[in-house]
């Protein structure tokens, strides 16, 4: 075996991961004057290859279906994530009955290249929900602690929205929202009838130019990667300013293996496999920030075993990998005949909804804890692979009849995606699989996952709500779900919503948590975790905005501690 190649240089900070949490740390730390090395397991973003903005399906060899028609298993051939639930050579396992799906993006910018750009603040009550209903823990920080960082993140990345004073969905610093689409206007009317709150969405897409970035051009394709950088991604919005300082070194193809710990019990650097040369390497740093994604960071900590830390690094509490949650997800759709009358028109808009339903039943007793929001879809989208599967199934036949039904039905469906809060439970966690390593020799994660009655009742409520909205629109609700089986009430597998968080949760008590309110490990003072892992709860708001706010706050704290000589 060749010997380990050590970089002779010692950086101030080594960050693992270049997504929302890692990108934000890179920006704040380098702008604060520190020299940072960033390890990314994937390649650089290659817009020529990865971004397919403004392409027609017929310009792709597989028209969006992917090689062998397999794209549907990992979204679509059009998307720019370079990510998947299944990555060759990098497996994970599930305990019997668990079936957890773990989405990973190995590319600079990570999952921010493809994410839905839904940028929602957690609400004040989300930080004290444990006390409120007795389930789980409160956060060690309050909304007031994080609010200034929400302000900073929104001002920097650009989020559209409106001030609405809905207690479950705090207002932020907003750009004006785009006008609603026809489908959304009809949904809003139906929601008004049903006393359901429906308001402009909050997405990290620029409706005005800010910070030198061009505004959106409304092609509706954010997920394909935006060539003008008018939506937020870490690769286009956070890493360029960090590079500009001259203090950021990015190493791509670097598969982090373990945090290296010195005799004094402090982190000294990170060892990694260089995928390009297939060699073992190491970088040295005075502090380490893990932002590899919640489960990947937990894996790194658990794999960083030593005599001083036999159960893994920063794991004296035994809670690394525990308290894993994903969002509760259940989807539905219906046919709305009123839409058949709409003349052809441009319906594209931004790459996501212009209106949404925040959690609206916070003022009453429900038969499940916490809440969910509803994302809205449908209408005259760009035709694509799979769009007429349902029509084919319902109409059957062939020929002139089928063709004319497709003309009539195009653009007349409305879809909903319910996204709710899961309560952490003792049967849901990840750990190191004792028998399996990946192709780099790194022991892999084994997932345990279980939906409880709380989540199932929430999914049931989602389905009832979707149906009532479609019916109030004069439509026919088409989604059929069973009350049992693999997907009761349409609940998706854990991991499918790609909001997995909580595997190194923050807390005031080192016995029951991994990091403190500044995302700093209780056990190792120069080790931070700034991805979704520190989140104590997983409210019905997509976690990315909160990850960035926490990362900004943690990075400022790290800068401060470095100045004081504490790190």
């Amino acid at each position: 075996m060749s010997q380990v190649i050590r970089s002779p240089k010692t950086y101030d900070v080594c960050i693992v991961g270049s997504g929302a949490g890692g990108g934000m740390a890179a920006k704040v730390l380098t702008e604060g004057g520190l020299n940072v090395v960033l390890l990314e397991a994937g390649p650089p973003v290659n817009p020529e290859k990865d971004f397919k903005m403004l392409m027609w399906p017929y310009e792709l060899p597989h028209r969006g279906a992917g090689v062998g028609g397999h794209a549907s298993e990992n979204f679509s051939e059009f998307l720019a994530p370079n990510g998947a639930w299944v990555i060759d050579g990098e497996p994970y396992t599930s305990a019997p009955g668990a079936n957890f799906q773990w989405f990973r993006s190995r590319i600079v910018g990570g999952r921010t290249n493809h994410w839905g750009r839904i940028a929602l603040r957690f609400a004040p009550i989300d930080f004290t929900s444990g006390t409120r209903d007795g389930l789980g823990e409160d956060w060690p920080i309050t909304y007031q602690d994080i609010a200034p960082y929400y302000d900073k993140v929104e001002s920097y990345i650009g989020v559209f929205g409106t001030k609405e004073n809905v207690s479950s969905a705090p207002d932020g610093v907003f750009l004006p929202p785009p006008k609603p689409r026809c489908t959304e206007l009809l949904i809003k009317k139906a929601c008004d009838k049903l006393s359901i709150i429906c308001i402009p969405a909050r997405l990290a897409v620029l409706t005005r130019s800010i910070n030198g970035r061009a505004p959106c051009h409304y092609c509706g394709q954010c997920g394909r990667g935006c060539i003008t950088g008018s939506n937020f991604s870490s690769s286009q919005v956070l890493l360029p300013p960090a590079m500009k300082t001259g203090r950021l070194t990015v190493i791509t193809g670097a598969m982090a293996r373990a945090v290296v710990v010195g005799k004094d019990g402090k982190a000294e650097g990170v060892s990694y496999v260089d995928k390009n040369t297939r060699t073992e390497k190491r970088v040295n740093a005075r502090a380490v920030v893990l932002a590899a994604s919640a489960c990947e960071s937990a894996r790194l900590l658990l794999n960083s075993r030593s005599t001083a830390f036999p159960d893994g690094l920063a794991n004296s509490s035994g809670t690394v990998g525990k308290y894993l949650t994903d969002s509760v997800g259940s989807d539905g759709w219906g046919h709305v005949p009123a839409l058949e009358k709409m003349p052809p028109h441009n319906h594209d808009g931004v790459g996501g909804m212009h209106m949404y339903v925040p959690w609206w039943k916070f003022d009453r007793k429900n038969d499940f804890p916490r809440g969910y929001h509803i994302e809205l879809y449908g209408g005259r989208d760009m035709p694509g692979v799979g769009m007429f599967d349902e029509l084919c199934h319902d109409e059957e036949g062939y020929g002139a009849t089928l063709k004319s039904r497709a003309r009539q039905m195009y653009g007349t469906t409305v879809g909903f995606a319910g996204r709710g809060e899961m309560i952490p439970n003792p049967h849901t966690y990840c750990e190191i699989d004792p028998d399996v390593v990946d192709q780099w020799g790194i022991p892999v994660l084994r997932f345990h996952f279980h939906w409880s009655e709380y989540e199932l009742r929430q999914a049931q409520d989602m389905q009832q709500t979707f149906r009532s909205i479609i019916e109030a629109m004069g439509g026919v609700y088409k989604t059929k779900t069973a009350i049992d089986g693999q997907y009761p009430f349409g609940i998706l597998e854990g991991g499918k919503i790609i909001h997995e968080v909580g595997t190194a949760r923050m807390g005031a008590d080192p016995k029951t948590s991994v990091v403190n309110g500044y995302c700093q490990a209780h056990d190792v003072k120069n080790l931070f975790v700034t991805d979704g892992a520190p989140l104590v709860t997983n409210p019905d708001k997509n976690p990315t905005l909160t990850i960035m706010a926490l990362s900004w706050r943690a990075s400022e704290y790290l800068l401060d501690e470095a100045k004081k000589g504490n790190i």
Binding site: G68, L402, K403
Partner: protein, 198 residues
Amino acid sequence: MGAGISRRDILKTLALSAVGGSVLQVIPAQAAEYAHQAVRKDKAAAPSGKYTPKYFTPHQYETLTSLCDSIIPKDEKSGGAIEAGAPEFIDLLTSENEHYQLKLGGGLYWLDGFCTDRYTGPYLDCTPEQRKSVLDLIAFRKNAKADSTLSQGVVFFAFVRNLTCDAFYTSKIGIADLQYIGNTALPEFPGCPPLPEA
């Protein structure tokens, strides 16, 4: 559909309109020229300018083409599935996917066997009336309920129907047939046009 304006033109315009001093790496329009559609390249490479199937035998491919044509035919408004490249699209995916090979390759044999039993020859040898009566049987699930010997044919035909729709409605003519308007750059999103009078 942005007649006369190419994607490259749009990208160029967007690159120019990006704010000066931007920290972003704006991609030059040239760099955004993508690999040509594989099928088109293959066609150009063949001396006859004809597509050579990657997976299906010539006979199977001809049968598949006939099915595609029946599923989405040409009419007074637009071309059909053949013009939209459905057979090529299905052949390409099938050449890459073992499950498709089994479902479609096997399904085409099933169809010929069925036609031979019923009419003395494979599907392509059947008269237009005979073909229509076969399709009228395998295009509907209810027929398989009445006669279980049809069920494999119904499953096969449903799969070909899905793939044909995928191919047609991702083609230029299929997208125009639906009157989709978009995939272009706009300074502002116009919102919803007035709803027509009920």
